[in-house]
Subunit: 113 residues, 4 copies
């Protein structure tokens, strides 16, 4: 991940794009790309198998979401991997196996699996 | 990232949540969490500095987006870091420094910095 | 719809909220509310019947999406109902019954039903 | 609005598209279209004036969001205009002028203007 962040910084700075990268704009970009990812599933039956072409498109869109997440974290001085691990600590406490097994979180306390 | 993926898989499987994790549902979750991230910026002036409390909230939301991205990638057999690097290869070709310096992508060819 | 627009304008102006209502902020709000609407479906099976409580929640969220759409249209001088009718004219031409019957748009030309 | 709903129903049923229109799929579509709307603002300065071409694009996207909202409401037996008026009743109580004037809702109680 560290290499990717450095690659992104060079990419951004070599093009003088830092000035567009306010945290607000980058949060918009994460959301726009998440919408493009979702569009790939818009009319798909829930259980339809993923063909190679769709996987390729998904791959492009998840990449875009991650790239903008990393650019946002860079601006906000957030270590994304550390943040994800802290969230996992929290989730492990919040959803003890004994109370959560096989139950979608909405039925536990208002969030999702 | 690999450690995080394994942690997520254990978390999911220990709770019997795999059955909820269709690619379509996970793409929905990425989008829902991206919306929660965006909400933190909803009424903020573009140039408002980020205070510690807001950074903490951003940190929680970027974590959620990443966690669902990784769960989706796990289901679709996508290596997220590799996908992001391929996208960077593509972006570097698409936006040569000489044609892109200081110009938001929309003015180049319809995308953003 | 016209009554609703006038009610929204009074609500906004009586509270001095016009200054927050840039088109960009309102587009963010539409997206944030659409995410809250989507969250209600996050882990639902596609064919699960809608109970009264869920319908009430959907009702609150579709209302929020519409209210922000109308506030955005007010700022951009767009007549939302007229825009929707123009889009329907366009869709009726684009998806002739003879070529579209029973086929999700993705298979026709890249959009959804 | 009633005319628009009837036009949408005929459009949908003439093409045999009702089978794709689960509430969940329609909520996805609202979110996808809201993302396309947001994309138009992705790199725009907050105070940039809206040119005629951008207004035309906004007009197309707000129309798509409304059309999917109406299709979702049709499936969930929700009267969208009535839902919006109920939400306005609620908002008028929740944000009394005396406590809300000129203050973004986040500072009042966690929501936006």
């Amino acid at each position: 991940m560290q290499e990717l962040i450095e690659r992104l910084r060079s990419f951004r700075d070599n093009r003088g794009w830092d000035k567009f990268h306010t945290p607000k704009n980058l949060a918009i970009s994460v959301s726009v790309e998440a919408g493009e990812l979702l569009e790939l599933f818009q009319w798909r039956p829930e259980d339809a198998p993923l063909d190679a072409e769709t996987v390729q498109k998904i791959s492009d869109e998840v990449a875009d979401v991650l790239l903008y997440l990393l650019l946002l974290c860079d601006k906000a001085n957030i270590d994304l991997a550390a943040a994800a691990n802290r969230k996992m600590d929290h989730n492990e406490n919040r959803f003890p196996v004994s109370r959560s097994y096989g139950i979608a979180k909405p039925q536990v306390d208002g969030e999702g699996p």
